[in-house]
């Protein structure tokens, strides 16, 4: 199987784009992450991640409508591509494999 590169923040962004489905653009993604994960996200970091994901082909974008509060600038909406979906699944499966490979004892010890 081919290797899918997906960093932690990138994974979060992908997941968020998935949650927002048709409404995923810069500001909405930022807000969603901030409210769900309780962590601050800078525009720079987010845009960099989006750009990288788009370059990798996990996301694709389309120009949206321009509104007044955006001073006439169009929104850029993102949706997950099929390839991006595969990458997310791959990440998830590998995580789960890792989880299942941990012996119970190890976790038990940690719990106590």
């Amino acid at each position: 199987m081919k290797k899918y590169q997906l960093g932690e923040f990138e994974e979060v962004v992908m997941l968020t784009v998935g949650i927002l489905y048709d409404e995923a653009y810069g500001v909405s993604i930022k807000k969603e992450i901030e409210s769900r994960l309780k962590r601050g996200v800078s525009v720079g970091a987010l845009q960099t991640a989006l750009r990288r994901l788009e370059d990798k082909g996990y996301l694709k974008s389309r120009e949206g409508e321009a509104t007044e509060e955006r001073a006439g600038r169009p929104k850029k909406y993102f949706i997950i591509t099929a390839y991006g979906k595969k990458a997310m699944e791959y990440t998830r499966i590998t995580r789960e494999e890792l989880w299942s490979a941990i012996p119970k004892v190890a976790l038990d010890v940690k719990m106590t």
């Binding site: 500001v27 930022k30 800078s42 720079g44 845009q47 509060e69 001073a71 600038r73 929104k75």
Partner: protein, 878 residues
């Protein structure tokens, strides 16, 4: 606009952000700003905004430094070259003519460039090139100022060294070059060498293979060239070996130097011996005063001095030294000057006619150089011609490009890039051609030129050359084609009018003018050569051998040698003389008649000969008789030539008495003129024969052999060689043919003639290529017209005439321009030869007719083909 974020960060963001991302991110920033402003006030929102912008300043967001537009122009250029290439491939014939013609022109310009470079770099082999000079003498004679006498008196060496030494780093006396036999054990070879001061290797920066620059300090040493060393010792180190010189003296090899290349003054000098040896060996030298000139002096000036300042310091060296000398009292009136001839003038400006510094060779270099530029210009003109002629075909393209939005500058760029493409192709072909033909050209021009392929300057100058050619060839078509109005060309009403073909016609005329001029020049030069070659020489030079006497044996065994030679059957006559028949070596003065000086203070050429000299060389008497062995008083007799009779204003010369008083010759007595011979051409055949006196006294260094008439040389030579090897075994048999030596006098003129011929042929080829292309284009353009004319009853001859007429008129016009121009140039060029031919009108006629024939042949191929074509084919389409 109250709600606007701070302006500066926003502008900064817009500046650095990648254009593709700019709008959407800016929108996000605005949205966030607006929200924050409402929630927490403008100040906080501003601060946040600044923070966001700063955090956006990261590689993924910043636009690439090389910009995003550059990519577009690259594509544009790519398309230019692609279109250019397709155009070339589409019209293979035109492209071939275009590239071929340009390549030919470039190749020639390249070769000429190399030649000019070689000429200008003469002597630059020596590292101290810019500071070396030859000492020469000047003075005033009969109110005229003369310079350029390089043969100098012995006391001048010490005078310069002792009293003016501070002006020089080195002062190096030298003898003239002369032949000598070098031998080790049984190996012997004859080589040219000279005696030279011990500082010479350092001053002239010899490249030493073995030994050091100090090799000449020991009086009995010798330095030999690498090639000599190889001939004598093979690859082994010859240092400290002993060689015998002329079978008599011994010398120790103290140094081996790399042979001097062909473009140096010391090329061909195969060994150097110390000056000190010559001085100590010949005690007579030290006794010579200021009145005997027999040596050369070379010098290197001080590092920071100039030739002018140094000359100013030494100019009166001789005048001061001879002021109080009794025997020089008579010569004070000549105001002798000691001058310096800088090394950079030795080759190209050291041509002394009448003692005045000339720049003849330099002019030749510039002349040839300008021919090169001219030929290149011709090739460029061709290119322009063809490109503009094809303009109608490209007019639609230009129209569409302009309609789509090309601006004129871009179109100029496109056509220029096409011409650069052609120029690059042509250059590659030219380099290859030059590479292949260089050995042949070297042979023709007597040079040793190489393509300096490893030198960066060569490539840099080639690149500049390429750039200029591309620009030159492409500028006119680019400007012309890009000036079309899209509306008119696309509507189809575009027709290149009369004014469009005018520059094309002018270009053809210029081209043919140059070609015809070259043809005429070649013709005249050849004519002059043939004329001079057919000049009567006054003696029989075929089968005449000249042999230098290289050792004393030639004199002690003279009688044996003579008898043996005659016995061998290969030789009918043997004589001796003071020099070769093909050169005048000595001039003397002091001749007077009835107390009146007859040599007009200039001296006459003299040659000491033996009694049988006349019989041997075959001179012809106008009156009087030859020297006779049986009449003892003939040792006080003269034989003179016709020129001398005229020079001395003699009537009935035979039997007249001439008094000769001369210091170096130690004579002061009367001579009787025995006879007058027809002029013998001994010096340059291009000049009038020098007034010459022949007499029997004096030292004779040469043997003249008349080979038995009718006997083939290859049969006679071995017999003669055998005799020499038997009688004088120490010296290798070495000889010169009078005929070869005489022919060598034409080498420069021969060379110029051949070069001019080559240039003329190439220029004609280039011009014809251009004409051919143009004619084929015109024929093609008028295909329909020809079809209609044929249907209406025009004959093939009619059409041929119609199509050729235009070109013939142009060529006739250029002949009319070329004739007076070349007459003017040639008149000045040929004036320098005293013995010259008339420039017959027939040369001009031949050149004109030749040019016309070539034109007709070139044009006819196209016009006949067009005229023969079936009109159905040309009229069917439409």
């Amino acid at each position: 606009m109250k709600n606007y974020p701070p302006r500066f960060p926003l502008r900064f963001f817009r500046w650095f952000c990648h254009p593709k991302l700019r709008d959407s991110i800016e929108g996000d920033l605005m949205e966030l700003y607006e929200e924050r402003r409402i929630k927490s006030g403008k100040l906080k929102a501003d601060a946040h905004f600044v923070k966001d912008v700063l955090l956006l300043f990261r590689p993924a967001i910043i636009k690439p430094t090389e910009g995003t537009e550059r990519l577009n122009t690259f594509g544009m250029y790519k398309s230019y070259f692609k279109i250019g290439w397709r155009n070339l491939a589409k019209n293979k014939g035109y492209s071939l003519i275009n590239i071929g013609g340009l390549a030919l022109g470039m190749g020639m310009a390249l070769v000429i460039g190399l030649w000019v470079f070689d000429e200008l770099s003469f002597n630059k082999y020596h590292e101290n090139y810019s500071r070396i000079a030859q000492v020469m003498k000047g003075g005033s004679f009969e109110g005229k100022h003369y310079v350029g006498q390089t043969s100098l008196p012995f006391p001048l060496i010490d005078e310069l060294k002792n009293n003016y030494g501070a002006n020089f780093k080195h002062i190096v006396p030298a003898s003239w070059k002369s032949d000598a036999v070098l031998s080790i054990q049984d190996k012997k070879i004859s080589k040219v060498g000279m005696f030279i001061g011990e500082d010479a290797p350092e001053m002239l920066t010899f490249k030493m293979i073995y030994g050091t620059w100090k090799a000449l300090t020991d009086m009995n040493s010798i330095m030999i060239s690498e090639s000599t060393s190889e001939a004598l010792f093979g690859d082994s180190d010859p240092l400290n070996q002993i060689v015998k010189i002329n079978g008599e003296r011994e010398a120790t090899i103290m140094g081996v130097y790399e042979d001097f290349p062909k473009n140096t003054a010391f090329h061909g000098v195969q060994f150097f011996r110390p000056w000190e040896f010559l001085v100590s060996d010949g005690a007579w030298m030290k006794q010579q005063g200021w009145d005997n000139h027999f040596l050369e002096i070379f010098a290197e000036i001080q590092p920071h001095a100039t030739f002018e300042s140094t000359t100013a310091n030494i100019i009166n060296a001789e005048a001061t030294a001879i002021k109080d000398l009794a025997y020089m009292k008579d010569e004070l009136k000549y105001n002798y000057e000691i001058l310096l001839l800088p090394m950079h003038d030795w080759h190209l400006r050291a041509d002394f006619k009448e003692g005045v510094l000339q720049s003849g060779p330099m002019q030749l270099v510039w002349f040839i150089g300008s021919i090169g530029v001219f030929v290149l210009l011709l090739a460029c003109i061709n290119f322009m011609n063809l490109s503009t002629a094809r303009s109608e075909k490209r007019a639609k393209e230009v129209g569409i490009r302009k309609a789509i939005g090309s601006i004129r500058r871009q179109l100029i760029g496109q056509f220029l890039s096409e011409s650069f493409l052609v120029a690059v192709f042509a250059f590659v072909i030219a380099i290859a051609c030059v590479f292949v033909s260089l050995p042949w050209f070297n042979n023709l021009s007597g040079k040793e030129m190489n393509m300096p392929l490893t030198e960066p300057w060569f490539w840099i100058s080639s690149f500049i050359f390429l750039f200029i050619t591309g620009l030159l060839a492409g500028s006119y078509p680019a400007l012309y084609l890009s000036s079309f109005k899209p509306v008119s060309v696309l509507k189809g009403v575009f027709r290149a009018g009369r004014s469009a073909s005018l520059p094309r016609k002018i270009l053809v005329v210029v081209q043919f003018t140059v070609s015809v001029m070259l043809i005429i020049c070649t013709g005249v030069i050849y004519n002059q050569l043939v004329f001079v070659k057919n000049r009567p020489v006054g003696y029989d030079r075929d089968g005449l051998l000249m042999i230098p006497k290289k050792s004393g044996d030639f004199n002690t065994k003279a009688e044996t040698l003579k008898a043996e030679l005659k016995n061998s059957g290969a030789v009918t006559e043997v004589a001796e003389s003071g020099g070769e028949v093909t050169n005048v070596w000595s001039h003397n003065s002091g001749f007077s008649k009835n107390g009146v000086v007859v040599d007009k203070d200039r001296g006459l050429a003299t040659l000491q000969v033996s009694h049988d000299f006349g019989k041997t060389v075959g001179w012809k008497f106008v009156e009087g008789r030859d020297f006779s062995k049986d009449i003892a008083s003939d040792s006080e007799g003269f034989v003179i030539n016709e020129a001398a009779v005229k020079f001395m204003d003699l009537t009935n010369p035979s039997g007249q008495v001439i008094h000769w008083k001369n210091g170096p010759w130690q004579v002061d007595k009367d001579f009787v003129i025995l006879g007058v011979i027809k002029d013998m051409v001994m010096d340059s055949p291009f000049e009038p024969v020098k007034p010459t006196i022949y007499f029997t006294m004096g030292w004779k260094g040469w043997l003249m052999l008349r080979v038995t008439p009718g006997m083939p040389m290859q049969e006679a030579l071995p017999k003669i060689e055998k005799v020499f090897n038997n009688v004088i075994p120490d010296i290798p048999f070495d000889y010169k043919f009078a005929s070869t030596e005489y022919a060598a006098k034409f080498s420069t003129e021969d060379r110029i003639g051949k070069l001019a011929a080559v240039f003329a042929i190439l220029a004609i080829i280039i011009s014809c290529l251009g004409l051919f292309g143009l004619a084929s284009f015109v024929a093609e353009q008028r295909t329909k017209e020809i079809g209609v004319r044929k249907i209406l009853g025009a004959s093939v001859a009619n059409l041929w005439q119609m199509l050729s007429k235009e070109f013939v008129i142009l060529v006739v016009l250029s002949c009319i321009i070329a004739a007076p121009l070349s007459y003017y140039i040639l008149y000045n060029g040929i004036k320098q030869y005293e013995y010259k031919t008339e420039m017959g009108w027939w040369i001009f006629a031949y050149a004109t007719v030749g040019a016309l024939v070539i034109t007709l042949l070139t044009v006819s191929y196209q016009s006949v083909r067009a005229a023969l074509a079936n009109p159905v084919n040309s009229l069917r389409s439409e």
